[in-house]
Symmetry: C2
Subunit: 162 residues, 2 copies
């Protein structure tokens, strides 16, 4: 089995200490601000990032045990079992999370952003600029999620992935 | 130092055997088809994925040595040094890559997609559905890349990250 080791390059600071009640996605967390604190040794890597309105944060769902996953999950926006790769649920074969968030300010080793749907102290693996021309920018279909997204509703998580 | 271990859940099959000459991003690789071959044990996790037009593939830049990174890099679309977190360059503190690609067909354990900018045999860490309403869908700014993206040009990689 092929294994890969990565290390935290920083940590996310948010007000979400608990799974239950946290917003399920950045789109439902527009008013929630968070902070990505990058370890001091990586500060030079943040150069030029301030020109981008959105960044992709790749992080670890560290409240999940690695290896404790389900291939079928009932996601927050549904009541049917879906294949885990067709969802953003945290109980995945590799407990890797991804959020595309809006940058508000970058200061020293801190990226302040809105759309904070992660827990406090989440370990960050990578930061990448979001570039619509690279990242799709086409006609999309969203499968089982069609007609399930209503951003005017408040969508917080419950206990299902505890 | 906080470390995390992940394992390959599958492998990407493309025609790109070499760094030099591979397309630099899915947007420049629309005619390049690839295949994500998921390990047989994870097949149930692919359920419901066929309804999504685009998926996010998270993978390992396995031609890079983990730990062999640069905080300032000259990216393919530029001739100036940029902070690595403001680029998609592979020599990153964690050698994690991400591509948003268009699904053409899903068959058994294989996802056929267009926009294949990865090398052959790249280890896959995760597959997630791309959901525009979650993943931005807003007004974007793209910093140093402004005016550097012209999708009518052919953009292949060169040797700079070897």
């Amino acid at each position: 089995m092929m294994k890969f080791e990565f290390k935290a390059v920083g940590f996310i600071r948010t007000e979400h200490k608990e799974l239950s009640g946290s917003p399920i996605q950045p789109a439902y967390a527009k008013d929630n601000t968070g902070k990505a604190e990058i370890l001091l040794e990586y500060i030079p890597g943040l150069k030029d990032l301030e020109g981008f309105s959105h960044i992709i944060i790749i992080y670890v769902f560290d409240r999940q045990q690695q290896g404790d996953f389900k291939l079928h999950v009932v996601p927050f926006l549904d009541n049917k079992k879906r294949g885990v790769f067709a969802t953003r649920a945290p109980k995945r074969p590799n407990r890797i999370g991804l959020s595309i968030v809006k940058v508000e300010q970058i200061k020293h080793n801190m990226i302040f952003f809105s759309g904070a749907d992660m827990y406090d102290n989440t370990p960050i693996l990578d930061i990448k600029p979001f570039i619509p021309d690279f990242d799709g920018n086409e006609e999309y279909k969203i499968g089982w999620l069609e007609r399930k997204i209503d951003l005017s509703e408040k969508k917080n998580s419950d206990d299902r992935f505890r």
